[in-house]
């Protein structure tokens, strides 16, 4: 029935909750389509992969400042619209629970269970001062060539 598995890729550039949720719903859907799915996290999207607790790592002042200013993990991302200083994400999480929709951390867990490949962009990790120890375990690290390697074989490539 199945020959070569079809592929999909998503570039998650945004570090906003609503966009990350959309990316992970599509990724989980594609995995249910028996596709090989890659999500490539770059720039602000990397924040969705941060561990929620502080990890002791050596950093310069600028890197430390970035670390403080950026949201620490999938549970802390702001909304792209109607953020209202953090009240918006609380409201949307409440509404999602009411509708039995999975939270972003749950969607990430489901994606991992389904074998979705999570790839952190090492160049932007350096720019933002993020270290491997600060990101969740079990992800891959790569650059644009690895992404393009997956993307050229994929039929669906999204930039979010």
């Amino acid at each position: 029935m199945t020959q070569q598995a079809e592929k999909s890729t998503i570039v998650l550039f945004s570090g906003e909750l609503d966009k990350a949720i959309a990316a992970f719903i599509i990724a989980n859907g594609a995995a249910a389509y028996e596709q090989e799915v890659t999500i490539f996290f770059t720039f602000w999207g990397l924040n969705a992969l941060r561990k929620d607790q502080q990890v002791p790592v050596k950093k310069g002042l600028l890197e430390k400042m970035f670390g403080w200013m950026m949201p620490r993990g999938a549970g802390k991302l702001p909304l792209s619209k109607m953020n209202f200083l953090g009240a918006g994400p609380k409201m949307i999480k409440h509404v999602m629970k009411k509708h039995n929709a999975l939270s972003l951390p749950e969607l990430i867990e489901l994606a991992r269970e389904q074998g979705v490949k999570l790839v952190a962009c090492t160049m932007t990790m350096d720019l933002l001062g993020l270290k491997q120890e600060e990101l969740i375990d079990g992800i891959e690290y790569a650059g644009v060539a690895a992404y393009l390697g997956d993307a050229t074989e994929a039929k669906v490539n999204l930039f979010i």
């Binding site: 859907g29 028996e34 039995n100 929709a101 999975l102 489901l110 389904q114």
Partner: protein, 75 residues
């Protein structure tokens, strides 16, 4: 209609009905029938599109009091 396995995805939101369906389908043999219950209004289009492109056959579907039922034969 007879089924070999039942997935109850009622009350679950997208993308869970399709994810659960896919998981259950993996446990069936070719020719066996999976019955799926869902309340997500998108599930009719979702499941027929999914069955079509993954090589399974949507044999029949019904809707009653907001519950959608599907019978999908494994390809």
């Amino acid at each position: 209609m007879n089924h070999d396995k039942l997935v109850d995805a009622t009350g679950l939101a997208c993308p869970l009905p399709i994810v659960r369906t896919k998981k259950a389908m993996n446990e069936l043999q070719s020719g066996q029938v999976l019955e799926v219950h869902a309340t997500d209004k998108g599930s009719k289009n979702d499941l027929s599109a999914w069955a079509k492109s993954t090589g399974h056959e949507l044999v029949s579907d019904t809707e009653e009091n907001g519950v959608y039922k599907f019978w999908i034969k494994k390809g």
